[in-house]
Symmetry: C2
Subunit: 310 residues, 2 copies
């Protein structure tokens, strides 16, 4: 921490680097306004409006928050939404039958099954049961394969949201070295592929790192773009950052904070206060990647309706 | 080139590095012998033996050579094989109908459509028409997605062959930095994913590079494992190699060679003579990755039969 005052004064003095916040909240609002306009236009033309359904099992705090945010986003965009709730004790069979009904229900354009599911339900079996044409989370292997091969399909919402956040903030990715920390199926791995492809954003040289990586700090120090998606609060510190890097923080963990009424606060994977002064761009937590994930889901839902129309 | 004698003498003197050839030909023979034994056992037990079909369109020299090698490998393994040939002028419709017949023919366990196809045929349409359960090339998006998610399915033959080659030569990959040159859908991209997963081989830190990568030489110099899959003859030179690295050469190009009767010879993406002395392991061209690709296809065919039996 004692490096901070020195760095700040250096940066202020030289004005070599001016940190800019990657405001995911504002970007997501802009996207939702565009979607709302598209829906108004459709309504005016007498066309169907997008309809997203969500299945929520149990009463996990995080899951309830996420699903509520998705329903709210639907309202903001003028989409229809349907929330289907089950008790923790729901059988796999009942859930699979409901998925099948949603697959066949032509009024529903896309739907999600909020993860995690209770231990007695096979998550992959449920994911595989979703019609890839309605799989707006982009978790079905067919959609994952389409993403790899750059074919039409649904991109997983969080990595797609990060791509959109970079795009709308004019971040140059071509030829840049991007280091991703964390190889999860829903963030690190798909993002590594999206950023490698011959697209814009894209054409990055991507290094995907994980728990078995050696010399992680040295690798991070070579990153023009550093993406932290490992789920360890405040893991990324200032000594891992190349001056002027773009830093994107995907983590959202609850950590104890005695100064808060609730006793906790939301923390990212990046130690924001000490990292921010070294960056050209940084996404905060909350208000960075989170809102973009939901905006992506809305984009996918509109796309699902368009695909169906064909 | 003038660095070579110096290097060689240094290496001989110090014996710090003893280069070992990754003999794909010998490894593939061992695999085919194991498969032949498995087929014998099946025959003795009165069970069905694997049956691979291949569709070849036109008379492209490379394609004819590859398909002939696949048919020969089937013989060596004791598999049945069926070669279906069409003239260059075959319609997309006829080809798609034949694919559908092979999907439905229960005597065929797996099949491939040799690429490239003539320009008037949509390759992706043909790939998508193949039943993923018989897609032993592993090119269908559903199989690509299964690979990313580490679910059962067919792994694309060339990257799977490279994984097997490393495995059977006891190359340690965990925690190593692997640099891949070339992001193709059939080699570089899937290999980058396979090597990143929590498997053995696997758990590498992978950097995927391509035509937009900056400072490629510097990146290559950090590689414990360097995989050249860009399709540019003799692109990788000694000055790009960290001493003691494992080098795998996926390229196979025909280059002019006046000393040969044919006027050409096969060249890899690596300048073998000058790179080899710096390596701990290196795969030659020919006799490295090529035979392993075909061995992988045989493994996939046996797997296709096993999957069908379930």
């Amino acid at each position: 921490m004692n490096v901070l005052p020195h760095l700040k004064s250096y940066l202020c003095a030289t004005k070599l680097i001016q940190m800019k916040l990657l405001d995911g909240k504002a970007t997501a609002i802009a996207i939702k306004q565009e979607l709302a306009q598209a829906v108004k236009d459709r309504k005016a033309a007498g066309k169907k409006i997008p309809h997203l359904a969500a299945i929520l099992v149990g009463t996990d705090g995080g899951s309830m928050t996420y699903v509520a945010a998705k329903v709210k986003a639907c309202e903001e965009c003028g989409f229809e939404s349907t929330l289907i709730r089950y008790d923790d004790s729901v059988s796999e069979e009942t859930l699979l039958r409901r998925v099948q009904q949603l697959n066949e229900d032509s009024s529903i354009d896309g739907f999600i099954v909020q993860l995690p599911l209770p231990a007695h339900i096979d998550e992959m079996k449920v994911t595989l049961a979703i019609d890839p044409k309605k799989d707006v989370d982009g978790f079905h292997p067919f959609n994952v394969g389409n993403m790899v091969l750059n074919l039409p399909g649904f991109l997983s919402a969080t990595p797609a949201g990060i791509m959109e956040l970079m795009h709308r903030n004019d971040i140059v990715t071509e030829g840049k070295h991007c280091v991703i920390i964390g190889r999860s199926n829903i963030v690190g791995t798909p993002l590594s592929i999206m950023l490698t492809r011959n697209t814009n954003p894209g054409n990055c040289t991507v290094t995907l790192t994980h728990s078995h990586t050696q010399n992680l700090r040295d690798i991070c120090l070579t990153a023009d773009i550093l993406i932290a998606a490992l789920g360890q609060p405040e893991f990324v510190t200032a000594d891992m950052i190349k001056p002027g890097a773009v830093v994107i923080d995907v983590g959202t963990s609850r950590i104890e904070d005695a100064t808060k009424k609730s006793g906790w606060r939301l923390a990212g994977d990046v130690k924001f206060d000490e990292v921010a002064p070294k960056c050209s761009f940084i996404s905060p937590v909350p208000g960075g990647v989170g809102p973009m994930t939901i905006a992506s889901l809305m984009i996918n839902t509109l796309k699902a309706m368009d695909l169906k129309g064909k």
